[in-house]
Amino acid sequence: MTARLVGTSPNRVGGFGRVSGLQEYVADIRIPDVLEGKLVTLDCARARIISIDTSEAEQVPGVRLVMTAADLPQPMPRFGPQLEDRPVIAVGETKYHGEPVAIVAAETKDAAAEGARLVHVEYEELPAVFTVAAALDPAAPLVQDPSLRPNDKFASTNVLREHRVGWGDVDAGKADLVIENSYSFPIVTHFAIEPHAFMAAPDGNGIAVWSSIQHPNWLQKILAKLLGLPLSKVRVYAPDPGGGFGGKQHTKYEPLVAYAALKAGRPVRLILSLEESFQAARRAACEIGVRTGFTADGKIVFQDVKADYLIGAYTDIADRVVGKGSYPAAGPYNVPAVRILARSILSHTLPSTAFRGFGNPQVNWAVESNLDEGARALGIDRLEIRLRNLARKGDAFIPFDTPADGDWDQAVRRAADLIGWDQPLAPGHGRGIAVGIKSGPTTGLSYSTVRLLGDGSVVVLAGTSDMGQGARTILAQIAAEELGAPLDSIAIVMGDTAIVPYDQQTSASRSTVLMGNSVLMACRSIQSQIRTMAARLHEVDESDISVERGVVKLPDRQLTILEVLKPGLGRLGGELTGNGEMRKDAEPNHPLSGAPAFFEFNCTAIEAEVDEGTGDITILRHVTVSDVGKAINPLQVRMQDEGAAIQGLGHTLMEHYIFDESGRIRNLGAIDYRIPTSMDLPLELRSETIENEDGPGPYGSKGMSEGALLCVAPAVAAAVRDACGAVIRDLPLSPERVWQALQERGDQVATGRKGR
């Protein structure tokens, strides 16, 4: 009998390489003859390119290639996961600060840098828009050429798309109290410690591409289409990314590097600097107006939400973020009337993309904060108002969608207990509580192959990317559990599209559920083959044999899988192979093209103290409780939950991009853009889970990697207000902003003490 592995926390699969320095990220891979790439960019956001003189750069010893738009097919190939609007390289006009106009490839990094410096670009800076207000001005310059947007009613505006969802009649709602406020959420960036890295090499009559990407199969499709190659001739290697957080989901400069390699006839690599990574991926800023109607006893009558997301110059996946992120804006509450209007607003800024939370943290910040305003005005406890409105399991809180799929009130009550909601507060301390919800994956397709080798060891081929969340460990635990193999005899193979079967993507906290189920299916297929083998070997009817979690149960005895496998395979040996296919098809009539496989639900509670002299916030206690269904690896769950919480503290307390009048990012890089360090932590961080084994994943699991980030900001802001009366509706809650709010608080202190 093997000990059960599910629910335990063995050492991370792939951990040895990570602590020994042997783990190879893209920048660590050396292939012979590789040229070093360097991007050429302009010192402003939007500019008309008048001419590019590459002659001096080409004279630099070691420079082998200087490629501009003129060297690429015409019209310029465009790509994107949602709309094909992004050119391989800027053509005619740059649209954001950092958009490349040329790439230099040279024998050394020094030569590439020198060559890039000597590419002379004559350009004329053009009027540009960097804010929602500027982009919506009727006189604003258009970010996208209307000719690229045929049959689009918004083509002559900077609105890319509108997303409307709702139910009930908001205007007819009879409310005793209506609270209306505006909130803002700034541009923040992923800041994975591994900057984005790309490499491409001609490979026979195809191409091989290495990328720190989360979605290798999606990249393969995009490259095959751009280059006119069959999928089989585009081999994508995707080594484990050094942090992704959504920023590495979609294709960025891989096409450019691939064209450069094909033109140079040699491998080319492009390792971005951190500053260039800042210019490659970020979260959408958002301006949110919320009008919430309440009854006198604190029931929500309606939610009327308008959210303008500031996306970039090209779509990337940003519009999906807007649509999917705004969709559950009314929260996990039973609200009879809801009207949500979310807009994707184009601007001359770098493309926004997926980022942990996927558009939800922005609207959650506003809607949860507005709920607190209602509670205070009504004199109702802020925990109580949430419990009064919270959807209970099975409630169709979004009428046409997956019903509430967890005992969410358990999570809320647990978080309240852990923060000591009913306990007296020390003077100068304040508490806040908030909940967050996010739709899980709405479609999905994850294939896997599991090979049970002749000695009982196992190879799992799975196209998930392990970017730190620990997918290798989870999949290994599942395979070990089902096939009775020791965990250290499981090999997990990922990140090579020539070998590993198709996986749609690693996003939306899906992999434990979707790829986990796929691997489970593949293991079950092997179990079925073992059953047939055992029946043959022991002359027992198959129906009298069961195989469960590595144990073969015959009528008169129990055997291990290996005890059946070895004689079953016979003298020649061999192996058994099982395939898994986990499919979640699109639903054409659903507003999101599919109901979510699960919801991520989190409750965060904060106790904070404010230094009224400096505006500095100290988080005394930070409690996060997530409904995870079942923690297959409790330590990894805690790590993801705490990691999400700390990342949430980043955008809550300190992170934001600052643009100048030319659209240049003024705080580009690690000195001026601060993320939480070991000195910025809550004094105490407590992460707990609700595990009712009610999820759609293996053993009742749900996805859980984003929940603890969703509602950090409203919980912290509520604690700050509770502590000192400062009302802040714009993130981040930087010391100067808190200090300013303290100067302006006036009679808000009295209001603030009315409720709790």
Binding site: S9, N11, R12, G14, G15, F16, G17, R18, V19, S20, G21, L22, Q23, E24, Y25, A27, D28, R30, K109, D110, H190, F191, A192, I193, E194, P195, D240, P241, G242, G243, G244, F245, I271, S273, L274, M467, G468, Q469, G470, L635, Q636, R638, M639, Q640, E642, G643, A644, A645, I646, Q647, G669, A670, I671, I675, P676, T677, S678, M679, L681, L685
Partner: protein
Amino acid sequence: MEMRSIDIVVNGRGRSLEVAVHHTLLDALRDDLELTGTKECCLVGECGACTVMVDGRIVDSCLMLAVEADGAEILTVEGLAQDGQLSPLQQAFLDKGAVQCGFCTPGQLVAAQALLDGNADPSVPEIQEGLAGNLCRCGCYFQITEAVLSAAEGGHR
């Protein structure tokens, strides 16, 4: 390009190499010696991913010229394990869940080892302050602290 020869001891092994005078120690380790365990991120001494020990003191190798290391003894993450056996600190990082994506881990480990070398019994605030120059975007800070405490208990008391 002006070159200079330097002699350094890296992880106990003497190395002689020709380096460009403007190249950093990080360049020399990664590009010349192909010791890619030391990571490159911010290049301005803020993130700590490139942390190595130079004569027993932690240094952001992106801020030190290779020529300045001439004659020095350097320890990188590759030098922590002995004969394929992880050090107690490395093992503690795995046991306590101090590693997620792993990209900051080499720098964290070297900085933590230097901390333990100088203070066998650090307090939580001392660990947090000692590792304040090593960013972890996965947010493993509490687990890293636990790992350092655990290694201190196991290895230094």
